[in-house]
Assembly symmetry: C2
């Protein structure tokens, strides 16, 4: 009854989403603070009669707001149902293993190989340096690649590839192959590559409203890049689902993208908490990778990530571990509120 296609899938397993609220939830990189309070009056006065009509399939006012915020042209902006959907469209449009394998870091967003299996794209994982950083030379040696994708800062390590290295990569990589930089976490102290968009027609930057904007429930993501790439994403979208972003999400996205001062303040709080947590764990003898994201990747000698995860879960704290060789001794901990972090540190101190 099923297709051959479906038999090659190995679906992504998202972090646990327990539907009760009893956990301190530090496992899926959600924002511990609410989104901009300006959303509340919008919802309170929303005329439900508007729900009867289809939303704008071109996401006009939201794309306009995004383009103004980042000082690019509206023709350089695409919107989708979460950055996962934008990635799924982009893999379809740009990565074709007839021209070589797609390459991405060995430890990286684990949805990338899933998309590859979905479309039958061959890929090769490039090992990280010993200190978990990316060496751009490793991406240039691979002459036969059809494209590159990586998160910056990387996940689950949290480590940033500095803009000068991103620039060097773009300068040296073939200009007829697309490089996707997944900037889901860039607002937490990263350096965006947006300034390179005009210079490199093969650069696509993908962003999400789920992390720094505290809107994971809404399902909004976007891409920025040359108009040629954006038009290709529209062609894919219009061959799959004409209206992936609903009206309420588009409108809330507009409100959020414009409230820079509120988001600046909660982002600063998260960065402070991250530095506090990193130092506290180091003081307890843990290894903590230098993070520019809203999570840290940390571990302690002699402890498996899985056992840290299990023992913290018993305490009512959810973190994420990966049973993958090379990172099996780490856990990824989302930065929560200061209170949540203090509870976490106390638990860690007592348990390990």
């Amino acid at each position: 009854m099923l297709t051959k296609r479906i038999k090659r899938l190995s679906p992504y397993v998202p972090g646990e989403q327990p539907q009760d609220r009893s956990y301190i939830k530090l496992n899926t990189n959600e924002n511990p603070y609410p989104p901009t309070p300006l959303i509340e009056p919008f919802l309170k006065s929303f005329e439900i009669e508007r729900l009867r009509r289809y939303p704008d399939p071109l996401f006009g006012t939201l794309r306009k707001a995004i383009s103004k915020r980042f000082n690019i042209d509206i023709s350089q902006v695409f919107v989708g149902n979460g950055s996962d959907e934008v990635l799924a469209f982009a893999f379809y449009a740009f990565f074709d293993s007839a021209r070589g394998k797609l390459i991405f870091p060995e430890f990286s967003y684990s949805f990338y190989p899933v998309y590859c299996d979905f479309y039958g794209i061959e890929y090769r994982k490039i090992p990280l340096n010993e200190n978990f950083t990316i060496d751009i030379d490793d991406y240039l040696d691979e002459e036969s690649s059809c494209g590159i994708v990586f998160p910056n800062p990387n996940a689950p390590t949290g480590i940033l590839l500095p803009l000068e290295k991103v620039t060097a990569l773009m300068e040296r990589y073939p200009e007829d192959r697309v490089v996707i930089i997944d900037e889901a976490y860039v607002d937490f102290g990263g350096e965006s590559a947006i300034s390179l968009i005009g210079r490199f027609k093969n650069l696509l930057i993908i962003r999400t409203f789920s992390k720094s904007m505290s809107l994971a429930a809404l399902r909004l993501g976007f891409a920025m890049g040359d108009e040629g790439l954006v038009n290709a994403l529209f062609a894919v979208k219009d061959s799959f689902n004409s209206y992936p972003a609903d009206l309420i999400a588009q409108k809330i996205g507009e409100i959020a993208i414009n409230d820079t001062s509120y988001y600046h303040s909660i982002t600063q709080k998260i960065i402070k908490s991250r530095e506090f947590l990193s130092k506290a764990l180091e003081d307890l003898g843990w290894r903590v990778l230098p993070s520019n994201a809203n999570f840290i990747f940390a571990g302690k000698k002699g402890l498996k990530g899985e056992s840290i995860y299990k023992r913290l879960k018993e305490e009512g704290i959810l973190v994420r571990h990966f049973n993958t060789e090379g990172i099996e001794n780490f856990v990824r901990i989302t930065i929560g509120t200061d209170e949540e972090i203090k509870t976490l540190i106390a638990s860690i101190q007592r348990l390990f």
Copy 2:
């Protein structure tokens, strides 16, 4: 820069969605009445803090509500970002031209061939009878088909295939190939095939919240069928986008699916208006196909659909026409409010 894949696409062109409100909009089968008023108190009291977390990737409470409403098991329900996305997932999961071509009616939802191009599925369009009805024998002669999809009632004709014929089709079609019945318009006087789900493991029924539920802006659709088919849809979803339906949409969907009495009343109004409009046009010498949907397919001898469309647009009324041989002399008119319909009839009387 682009893949070979993307070069084979011929994107779907949705009906015009002018972002101003000046038209009488009878072109995209939207509901002329607002959705259930119970949505308003929900939005007014919604705690925006909930937006920071990912929504339930299993759509638990919404699937439960749907399963109760239709008296099936929750394991027989799948949810997606509009029925277009559910269809896109289903084509991936079930239709494989290694086993034959996908077959569907010649005049039908024009997204079906677009999905086929998206995945590289071969298809064959089956002609309708002279009176635009479906002859199920035509779908059984085709021994080499890998599956069937059709809307019931069909679009853009509005004509229903009676349940006894659907049953006969299911009885005679190979049980290892999937039949998708797209019941987007079934609430407007059609007969659902839900009662057949337990009997035929290869039957998938797809529904939308966009038409009878008056929630096109929300992007919610669902599928009902055997647990094996539903599990396959989840595998596809989890290889593409883990969270396609946002929290607010899931919650509003739940409210809407439970308010059967409100929706019964607006559906009855639409059916009455449809009968009124059909009779009025027939009295003016038009041919109107017998519709069980929230639109009619109608034309007048000697008039091209395109010219009807153009002249009505000048009057501020949008309808939809198709430049496709065999239906080029028709327009599809969505049933609006009684006032809108009276304006339409007056314009038609004056213009043609």
